[in-house]
């Protein structure tokens, strides 16, 4: 399949809110499907239990939020409302359970709104990830938390998960992450060959597929991309920061691209790319997962590692990717990203790295104002 057909296939999969691929997986395997809200979720344990982890990344800009507004205040981010709307409409019926995580107060409260309104048909679990990785006791705590998750899944499934199951699952996700990294490497080295909207489509279909199937698509893409005949354009190289949870509309990513930016690195769908190094397969796999979370995870506004401040890691990322600027792309009302912004801004200004801030909502559908902002920003750099 050529690259364009591959992208068309991904777009079709994303545009169908019923996600027949999940239903067909359930029919084929007899397994259960378990949703996960952003950002990171221990998919390895879910999949090792013979369940399909399904990324629930909001409702996009084609969903009308009609009923969910009344469950929340007016100052709550879109993804919280759209995810509730999906459940109220019955659009998450293909799920047997859903995980939420300690990313912010809104997502945490959402998990309890889900518990009250949609369980027991849907089992709802909340995972507390350590916020003090510098403590020597953090790994031990996380092992106990992951063991709790494991027991819950075994209980739902009615059968135990073996160590071997988990190792196989970790292996499948290691491979999947490696392929996504390769995709991102192309984006950084030859951004004209692979645009961010295209990379995004290729990454996000993994939300509804088992890792092996997603890896097949990624392999096909990696084979086709170098064959593309596209000439580089005079654009600035930027890092996109702030879209780790609620996802910007694809049109917004296209607008940033059209306005003269090569997005050479980003934090879109960050949970799928949480580890840049492989999770070790020797030793106890639950311990490996916990230890990797503490020592090998990407930085993010929803996890805090006091050993290496996030602002320092943002600067490192800008330098490593050869970017000249940062585009903050932050969801309206997203406190983790909005609160990180002043510290990020300070350090970028100290380092002389230009930046621009865009605010989005997943349901937005006009992008002209944002396009003008980015164009002006790009021109100020190109003609400086």
């Amino acid at each position: 399949m050529d690259f364009e057909s591959l992208i068309a296939q991904c777009r079709e999969m994303i545009d169908n809110p019923l996600h027949p691929e999940v239903l067909s997986w359930k029919e084929k395997t007899g397994g259960k499907a378990v949703g996960y809200f952003p950002v990171y979720s221990p998919l390895e344990i879910v999949y090792a239990n013979g369940m399909l982890p399904v990324g629930i990344m909001g409702g996009g800009n084609k969903l009308d939020v009609e009923r969910a507004d009344s469950y929340f205040g007016s100052f709550v981010c879109s993804i919280v409302k759209s995810t509730t709307e999906l459940a109220l409409r019955g659009d998450l019926k293909y799920l047997d359970g859903i995980f939420f995580h300690s990313i912010c107060d809104a997502a945490r409260n959402l998990s309890f709104v889900f518990k009250r309104n949609f369980s027991p048909q849907l089992f709802v679990e909340y995972i507390h990830f350590p916020q003090n990785p510098s403590s020597p006791s953090a790994v031990k705590y996380l092992v106990s938390e992951l063991e709790r998750v494991r027991k819950k899944l075994e209980e739902v499934n009615g059968r135990p998960m073996t160590e071997e199951n988990l190792k196989q699952s970790i292996h499948a996700y290691n491979e999947n992450r490696r392929l996504m990294q390769n995709l991102y490497r192309i984006k950084a080295e030859a951004p004209h060959l692979l645009s961010t909207p295209e990379a995004y489509l290729l990454t996000s279909v993994g939300n509804w597929l088992p890792p092996e199937d997603h890896s097949m698509i990624l392999r096909a893409a990696l084979e086709e991309v170098p064959k593309r005949k596209i000439r580089p354009r005079d654009k600035i190289r930027v890092v996109l920061e702030g879209s780790f949870c609620e996802q910007p509309p694809l049109e917004l990513l296209e607008v940033v691209d059209e306005a003269g930016c090569y997005i050479v690195d980003d934090d879109l769908l960050l949970g799928r790319r949480w580890y840049e190094e492989e999770i070790p397969l020797d030793g106890n796999p639950v311990h490996s997962l916990a230890e990797s979370y503490i020592n090998r995870a990407r930085y993010s506004s929803v996890s805090h590692d006091w050993r290496r401040p996030r602002s320092q890691r943002l600067v490192e990322r800008v330098k490593q990717s050869g970017a000249t600027a940062v585009v903050f792309c932050i969801a309206k009302f997203c406190e983790p990203a909005l609160l990180d912004y002043p510290l990020f801004k300070d350090v970028l200004e100290r380092e002389g790295i230009p930046h621009v801030s865009l605010e989005f909502e997943e349901k937005m559908w006009t992008f002209e104002t944002l396009k003008t902002s980015v164009e002006t920003f790009v021109e100020s750099i190109l003609f400086d």
Binding site: D69, S70, Y71, F72, G73, S74, F75, V76, V80, S102, I103, C104, D105, A106, R108, N109, L110, S111, F112, V113, K115, R116, N117, E125, Y126, I127, H128, P130, Q131, N132, S135, P136, S137, A138, K140, Y141, S144, E145, R148, V302, H304, W306, P309, K332, F333, E335, P336, L338, L339, D340, Y341, P342, L343, K345, D346
Partner: protein, 431 residues
């Protein structure tokens, strides 16, 4: 039918002996902090949710400052807006917590308190966040701006069953041991566990009185307003836990309130409605907000915000570190919405309340995300009359008195009518 409410404002609040005692204690505390600032004595930034750690810090000779309390004081004295705007100029969004913004703005304006006293620069920033993820960021910013070392005590949320997992307590205890080591190095003083146990005995004594005081609101009329008056009581609870002054204050308070129960005196001349309140008040309009209810003869008999002490929790001197760890884990902000609904329902039932008032604050997602669901649950599942209001706890720009008043009036008119239909005695308004 309901008579028109008198335009004359009924301004009432409890003004007994403890009112003055509370003022004196808090003034003394501020003076001590000013002294600490002058002498460069070791000081830690703390949060109210983890304020029991003050017991530990005091044993190690470390003062405590509470940025939250400073923000609160700035708002209540109507000084918060210029500081919020300073923070917004520095890049803080209009949509993030204004407690953080007021504090940041005040820091960059000379680190002054609302009373004009100098606040000490922290030598340690200790975040024990108990369910509020913004607290993690806030203290990270304080550490970045002051250059003081940061320690975040990770408090696992209660997420499975009614209480914490044993592993959660072990985890927090391990972190407390690390904190003790850091503090010992900072102050050059070794922790004396006997002294810690003695302080915990005092804390437990004070907490017993506090819990007894809270139970007194079951009486009709309630001897004090469990929202507006109780917020004032929280000052000494936070600042003097584990001290003889704290014990004395709460012993006195208990006696005074028991006497008021005996005499049948409440904070308003005639208690006509009893309400339970959810979430924080609009501090820049604290008095105005209170008056909206006072004019209807409505008295708060229960509130989540004034439940900083985990219900039925007492520190245990025999298990000092475990006990210190359990407090921030068990506090209601560290529990899911469903458990908060249970707490509110318990207050409504046990304290014979007529209504639930939800004040949804823009700044605080911990409280407000899901308030619509809460209203739905209480009004449609439990048939408890529920009013939801929206404004902010710190930013005066989100408070509209006329709109708020219309909603409160409309709610109590309907409630009064319902009471009338239910055959309850309706007493005329004093005009």
């Amino acid at each position: 039918m309901a008579k028109e409410v008198s335009e004359k404002k009924e301004k009432s609040q409890y003004q007994g002996r403890i009112h003055q005692m509370q003022k004196d204690l808090m003034a003394r505390w501020m003076a001590e902090l000013e002294q600490a600032a002058e002498n460069n004595e070791p000081t830690a930034c703390l949060l109210v949710a983890g304020s029991n750690l003050a017991i530990l810090l005091r044993c190690l000779g470390i003062h405590q400052v509470y940025p939250e309390l400073n923000s609160l004081q700035l708002a209540i004295r109507k000084q918060s807006l210029p500081y919020i705007q300073i923070a917004e100029e520095k890049g803080y969004s209009t949509d993030v917590c204004s407690y953080v913004k007021a504090d940041v703005g005040a820091f960059f304006s000379g680190n002054m308190s609302s009373l004009g006293t100098k606040l000490p620069k922290p030598t340690l920033v200790l975040s024990c966040f108990s369910g509020c993820n913004v607290y993690i960021k806030w203290f990270e910013h304080i550490a970045a701006y002051t250059g003081a070392p940061l320690y975040v005590i990770d408090v696992p949320f209660i997420r499975s069953g009614e209480g914490p997992c044993p592993e959660d307590i072990d985890y927090v205890v391990s972190q407390l041991k690390e904190v003790i080591e850091i503090c010992e190095k900072m102050s050059g003083k070794k922790l004396d566990y006997d002294q810690l146990r003695e302080s915990l005995v005092l804390a437990r004594e004070m907490e017993r009185s506090w819990l007894e005081i809270k139970e007194l609101t079951k009486n009709i009329p309630s001897p004090y307003d469990d929202y507006f008056d109780c917020i004032t009581l929280m000052g000494p609870l936070v600042a003097y836990r584990g001290t003889p002054e704290g014990v004395e204050f709460f012993h006195t308070a208990l006696k005074e309130f028991e006497e008021r129960v005996r005499l049948g005196i409440g904070p308003i001349p005639k208690e006509r409605f009893r309400m339970v309140v959810e979430s924080a008040p609009p501090y820049p309009y604290f008095r105005t907000f209170r008056d909206l209810f006072t004019r209807w003869g409505a008295c708060a008999v229960g509130a989540t915000y004034t439940t900083p002490q985990p219900p039925e929790f007492l520190h245990d001197p025999e298990r000092p570190l475990e006990s210190l760890a359990e407090y921030p884990i068990q506090i209601f902000t560290n529990r899911g919405l469903v458990q908060r609904y249970q707490l509110l329902e318990k207050y409504v039932r046990e304290r014979s309340a007529d209504a639930l008032i939800i004040h949804s604050v823009k700044s605080c997602r911990l409280f407000s995300v899901g308030h619509g669901d809460m209203r739905e649950y209480f009004s449609k599942k439990l048939y408890i009359p529920t009013l939801m209001l929206e404004s902010d706890l710190e930013d005066p720009r989100y408070f509209s008195e006329a709109q708020m008043r219309n909603r409160v009036d409309a709610f109590f008119e309907v409630l009064e009518h319902k009471k009338y239909l239910a055959g309850k005695t309706i007493e005329s308004h004093a005009t």
